[in-house]
Structure formats: C-alpha cells, structure tokens
Symmetry: C4
Subunit: 277 residues, 4 copies
C-alpha cells in the first residue's frame, strides 16, 4: 500500500494549514497563541526557580505547569497527525524540541519524591529548552546563519588557537603566580586566561605579583590585537555573501540572465552581445 | 478660513529664522546660548543628585532650576508661536522633548511634599532627558544612523539569538552551580550569562565549581566567536552605503570617461586633457 | 660520499609515509594515536597541578608520565631515522617542540629532590608545550595566518601606540588617585590602564576619586573608539587576501580572458564558448 | 639681512644630518642612543614611583635623573643650533615635547621642599611625557593615522551618542537602584554606565535589585549591538584608504608617474601612452 498515493483527507489538509503555515488568519492566530504560550512557559520556569516565590505559590505553579504541558502535548499530537510523514517530523530538530517540551512534566510524576532530587530538578529545568520553539519564527533563512556557517571552519581554527594560547599562558601564570593570587592549579589558571583573553575579566582571580601582572598585560594587549580576527573573518564572509558581485545591472536581452561582471560585453550564459551601457 | 494662504507676519518669519535656522549671526547665537543652557541644566541635575552638595546649596539649586525652567518655557513658547503648523511641532520628537524639559519642575509644585517621594524624585530626574535637545545639533543626516537603520532587523535577530543562548546557558549554570556561586535563581543566572556573553564581566557573580567554570569558559569562548557577527553586519552595511571610490567627479570632455584618480590631469582612457578643477 | 645519491631504503620510505603523511590507513592511524596521546598528556599535566589529586595518585601520575615520555621519545627517534635530512627536522619548529616534549621528564631525574624545587616545577610544566604538537594538524596554510602576518607591522604599531597611551594615562591616574584607589605606583597604574583599555576590567584596582573616575571614563570611551582599529586592519587585510572573485579558474580559449563568473559558459569578453569544466 | 640666503655652515649641515636624519651611520647611531636614553628615562620614572625602591636608592635615582636631564638638554640645544629655523622647531610638537622632557628637573630645584608637595610630584611625573619622543620613530606616515583622521568626525558623533545614552541610562539606574547598589548619585551612575557600555565592567559598582539588573541587561545587550559601529566606520574608512588604487604597477615612461588605475592606457599625469602590460 503506497502511502504517497493516498489522497490527503481534507481535515488533515486544513489542520496542516493552520499549524504549519501562517498565511491564513487561523494559522496566524495559532502561531501567536503558541508564541504567547512559549513565553509564558519560560517565565514560569524562571519564576519557579526563585525559592520564596515557589514555596508561596506552589499550587499555582503546579496547576499552570500542567495546563501548559497539556496544551503543548495537544500541539505535539496535532503536529503528528496533521503531517503526511510523521516520522520525519518526530526526528527533526523541532520534533525533538516539541517532545522535550512536554515529557519532563510527565516524567517527574514517575520519579517522585525527595531522594532523586537532582534528577527532578534537572528535568524541571529541561523545560527551558521550550525557548527553542521560538526559533521557528525567527526566519532562519537570513544571511547571518549562512555567513556563520561559511566561516565556521575558520572560526573553529581560531578558537582552537585561542585555547592553545590559554593552555600555555595559563600554565605560565600558574608557575609565576603560584597560589597567592588564586592560580591554585593549571585548570584554574587556564580558566582565568580564558576570562582575560575574551576581555570578560570577572576579577575573582587576578594576578598580584609584579611578574604575573606583566605577563597578564602581555596577554591582554595580545587579546586586543587578535579580537579582530573573528570579526575580520565574519565581516569578510558576510560582505561576500551579501554583496555578491552584480554591480552590473545589465540583463541579457536574449536569455534574461542578470548578474554580469562589470566589464562584461557578452552574456556569460548564452554568448550573445549585451546592450551598450 | 484657510490657514495656508494667510501671509506669514514678518515678526514670525524673523523669529523662525533665529530659532530654527543657524545661518544668521542671531540664529547661531541662539543655538549656542541654548546649547550652553542645556549643558548647564544637565550638570545641575547631576550635581543635585549628590546629597551633601544638595543639602548645602539647596536654595542655589532651587533658584537655578527655576531660571532654567523659565528659559526653556520661553523657548518652547517661542518655538510654538514662530512656526506655521504648531501641532506638527508639538507632537514631533523634539516637541515632546522640549515639553518634557519644562513640565517636571511645574508638576513638582503641585505634587508637593514628603509622601510622594519617589514620584517627585522621578519627576526631577526626568529633566535629564533635556540632553536629547542636544541631538538637534548632531547632524543626524550622517550615514551612521542610516547604516544602523538598514541593519536593524539583522541586529535584532542576532540579539534575540543571544538572548536565547543566555536563557538556556543561564538555566544550565543555575543547575550546575546552585546557590554557592550566587546563581540563586534562573533570572539571576541569565543576568550573569548576559554580563559574561557581552564580555562586561562584573564579577559580583562568578562560578566557583569546576564544572561551572568549564561551562563558563565555553560561553566566553563562544562570545569571542560571535562578537564578530554584529560587527560584520554593520561593517558590511556601512561600507556598502559609503564606499563609492570616485571622489574625483571629473568627466573627460572627449570620451566621457568618469572615475579618474584624484590628481589626474589627463584622461586615462583616451589621453586627452581633463578640465581644470 | 654523497648522501643525496644513496637510494632510500624501503623501510625508511615506508616509515616516512606512516609518520609524516596521512594518506594511508597506517599514516592516519599513527596521527590519531599521536593526537590522543598529546591530549592525554596535556590533561595529565593539568590534573597533576591539582594538589589533592597529585598527592593521592602520585604513583599513577608518575607511571603515566613515564609511559607517555617513552612513547614521545620513540616518536622523536622514529621521526629522526625516517627522514633524509634529520638536521633540518631537528632544528625545525616541530623538531624543537618534539624534543621539548620528552626532555623535561629525563632532566627531572638528574636534578632530583627538594632544594631545586622551582626548577623542577618549571621543568614539569614545560611539558604543557606538548600542546604545540597539535598545531601540526591545524592546517596552517589557511588565510588566517597569512592575513595576520600581512598586518603584523600595522598591528604592532597600533599596540605600541596603545602602550604609550597606557604609560601616560597610567602616570596621570597615579598622580590623581594616589594610593587610596590602589594606584600605588606607576607600573601598577599602567597595569590598571592596560586592563581598562583592553576592556578586561578585573576590578581589583578601580578609581574612587571623582576626578579619577572622570579620567577613567575618558579612557574607556577612547578605548571604545579605538578598539575598531585592529579590527579594521585585519578585516581589510583579510578581505583583500580572500576576496578575489575568480573562483572560476577557467580561461577563455579564444581571447585568454580569465576571471569568469562561476557559472559562466561563454566568455564575457569575446562571446566564445568556454571549455566544459 | 635675509636669513635664507646666508650659506649654511658645514658644521651645521653635518650636525643636522646626524640629528635629524637616519641615513648615515652617525645618524643611525644617534637615533639608537636617543631611543635607549628615552626608554631608560621612562623606566627610571616608573621605578621612582615605587616607594620602597625610591627611599632605598634615593641618590642613585637623583644622579641618574640629572645625567638624563643634562643629556636631553644637550640634545635640545643641538637640535636648536643645527636647524635653519629654530623658532619653527621650538613651537612644533616635538620641540615642545623635547622642552618638557628637560624642564621639570630644573624647575624642581627652584620650587624646593615639602610644602608644595603636589606640584613637585606633578612636575616629576611630567617627565613621563618623554615617551612621546619615541613617536618620532614610529613612522606616522602609515595609513592607520590617516584612516583614524578621516573617520574622526564620525567616531566623535558616535562617542557623543554613547555619552548621551550613558547620561540617560545612568540617571534611570540611579532612580531604580538608589544607594543600595552603590549608585549614590548621577555622576557615579553615569560612570558605572560608561564602565558597562564599554564592556569594561570593574564590578566595584553593580546593580543588586531585580529591576536594576533587568535594565543593566538591556544596556549590555545594546552595547553588544552598537560596539560594531566604530568598527564598521574605521573598517570601511581603512579599507577605502588602503585598498583602492595602485594595483596597477605600471610606471609612465615619460613622467615616471606610478599609481595608475587598473585599466589605464594613458598616463593621467602627462597624457602619454603607457606601456603595454
């Protein structure tokens, strides 16, 4: 029995339109309602983490959580039944995000009370990943993601080089500063080095010996010089991907090809003469 | 009765020239006087907020404030009566700013003494918005604002993505660090995450567990990699809107070739002499 | 006896292939094994620096260290005997790094016990430079290094200018703040100035007088304005070295015009058909 | 008596060559000696500011200071007598710097003892400006300075806009946080706002109320978005001033003019035909 040839029932088609598309008033309404639900749910998770609030409004949080979970469950079920190939949706990025948005609350029921405290807490906080549902509405097709993807390899090499610098300089600082300034061990020194090189600078660990400060100055000056590198990469990549050559606005009169080089006299697509500028 | 056809009285035209334009000596004088008044007023608001100073020079501050308010009121009235369409000015950005520059002092009279303390204080501090009057003289027509406006949508998407990262990583840090390092609740952890990702790094909250520091390192390295994104956007947008090369606007009188070097005296295309600049 | 004309024994050729190249399964296996060994070795050095861990697992660390050192020694010896010109390798960057990866452990044997403590510690930490062995696999040929090299001179001048600003402003801050805010002496003030200008901002030293804070504000605003300079340099250098448009390397067989668009099928200069790709 | 027509005595010409030029071995030697003297002098001023060192080596510092001052005085005198138009040198940037490098030590003699302590200290620290003598050797002709100069106006407007944001947000933070978080008065709040917006983040002042932290988050996210602006400006300015023109390495065979446009066939300077490429 070929699934592909079965005609789609009209209720499924309509449901699909409402849930997956935003062209109809119903579809737009669904999207807005979902957005509000997501934002509410995130705010709820945030407020729950504030202890005095949680103990005071325990039942309100509990009820709201279940209402939201049930609504997300309905959304998840609707998404599955309204699509032709549910398997593909279920294992897609958003399918997994939608699943993870509902499951923690149910699982908390089974794990139960006090002794698995950390697991329950982790489960509860997992709900914050619901925020990823929002990315659906962010218009990923923009050139930003593309530019980042294109320069991914170069940025990775750069960050790796930064890490190597941090490992070496962190070890040097551990040797020079010792335990006085808080550079107790190498991992900690490397952590400090990352904090410094990225110009975050918490200040919980800071060199106190003259030599340590001299080396720190050297690291900071270096960071000032190399912070330009990722910018240069993305900048060049971005301006390449968004500024693409076609300053020549001619269109070939034979094959309608646009995007010619500035000095082009013949169409590169069909070989015919372009109009005079 | 058509307002448009009524001839503008000469006093109104002259007043308009002085107040709204800067070509005449009078107009320039008015602008400079106003600039000084604005700066003085801002300094006054700042100094007033220093408690010992305020209690010592209470009457001086009070008097100066009223003089400045009255001068701003006169300016506001003059602006209204010297313009043809007062309504349009009143509801324009600068009309509202000019109004807000005068009203707080008057309102403070009516609200009066001790019991509405916060409202009075807020009103008084509202006067700091007078600084926006300065933007009138900043030459908004520059390409900066334009470049920012063009990349507004992309920057917004980027900042939104940063916020989502902060929400997720903030929750993770809350789970990992707990209350020991100051990550008492999720909003606080998200605040820390924003402080870190933007490389501000106050250090009032900082991770203290090894795992927390590892995740923090990861966040910081990421921030170093993505700080390039807004730069790339604005950079590309800006260089697109402002990179025209042909600063020499001469056109060869023989072959009509434009785009000559700045110092060119002969056409590089046909070898004929260019016109004198 | 001319070394060059001697035929290379087949065992040496095979060894060279395995060690220096990554095309064969054996060569790739060797590289992966080495990578794992390097990472393990770095993790070991890091963990060793954590005192409680070190005292508890002293013998495990000791044994692992000797195993790793012996493996690196074997690698070093194999690299020397498998190459035609060992001298060139020995004094190359990686030759020195490979040598420094093995020698500290052996030297620690001779220096021995307690009284040369710092030297031993320095020797032990020298092992962290093993991380540089990884750079072999990072593909240095990328344009990043090239762009950095090209703008090296300009970045150096820039950083030197930053240093001069820091020396002058550091002295001014020392004069203004005195010892109250922690600006005890000029080197310390310069250190603070570097911390501030690079936007790291630890906060261990911070101005507390109003004038000091005013000057600090001025320094920070300046830093915000000049942080763009290295970015601009690398950005321009990078986009110059990497934005050549002619990714299509075809050359027109009729007029020898190169630089065609990627999808070009006809020469834009003479209109003739380009060769099939 | 016309100064211009008087022939330059040979001793003056030779002295000029040694002091102002670096082509001869003598001239290069003079430059290197001066550079070492400047660096020594700066290190001396730095070390002097470290109290324990100063009290221990008082006489050594005193002697060294006088030796350096006398050497700089000799240099200053030589520069004046070896030049044709001393007045022009004296009031030039380097003339003033050279003068300020010598005068503080002499003036300290006249002002004398304890009661004018601050003035003496300021005088002594003035010597740090000797570092500006180094800029003579930094090759100002580079494009960096040019790019900065060209974008000066735009960067100034940008920094001014940042200042206005800081004034307004500083006032808001003062209102919201009050004195609890250290936002005692508006100037202090503005200082905090500058520290935050420039991503320095000392952490000596930090918001502690939830609303204050929310606003701070907003400020930081904004800073992340606008840090790109100066970069974009300088980047575009820099790539414009350094990328454009002389990719064509042809030199006109008639007038030796280099720097022609890529497609130039005639010299833009004298109108003669350029050589075929």
């Amino acid at each position: 029995m070929n699934n592909k040839d079965k005609p789609i029932p009209s209720w499924q088609r309509k449901l699909h339109e409402v849930i997956y598309e935003a062209d109809t008033p119903m579809g737009r309404g669904f999207d807005i309602a979902l957005l509000i639900l997501i934002v509410l749910s995130i705010i709820l998770v945030m407020l729950e983490s504030i202890k005095p609030l949680y103990s005071q409004y325990y039942w309100e949080f509990y009820t709201a959580e279940w209402i939201i979970t049930i609504l997300f469950t309905i959304e998840y079920v609707l998404r599955i039944i309204s699509i032709r190939k549910p398997i593909r949706y279920i294992f897609s990025f958003y399918g997994i995000v939608d699943f993870l948005s509902t499951i923690p609350t149910y699982m908390a029921l089974f794990i139960g009370g006090g002794n698995l405290f950390f697991a329950v807490r982790a489960l509860r906080l997992l709900r914050v990943f619901r925020v990823l549902k929002i990315t659906r509405y962010m218009g990923e097709s923009n050139k930003l993601v593309e530019a980042l993807k294109n320069s991914k390899a170069k940025i990775f090499v750069f960050l790796f080089a930064v890490l190597i610098i941090c490992i070496i300089m962190g070890t040097v600082m551990h040797l020079v500063e010792g335990e006085a300034g808080g550079f107790d061990n190498i991992p900690l020194s490397i952590y400090w080095c990352i904090v410094t090189l990225t110009t975050v600078g918490f200040g919980d660990i800071a060199p106190i010996t003259p030599l340590g400060r001299l080396i720190a100055s050297f690291i900071m000056i270096t960071s000032y010089g190399i912070i330009a590198v990722p910018t240069g990469i993305v900048s060049a990549e971005y301006s390449r991907s968004s500024k693409p050559i076609p300053t020549n606005t001619q269109v070939c009169p034979y094959c309608n090809e646009s995007k010619h080089l500035d000095k082009a006299e013949y169409c590169h697509n069909c070989g015919n003469k372009l109009n005079e500028k």
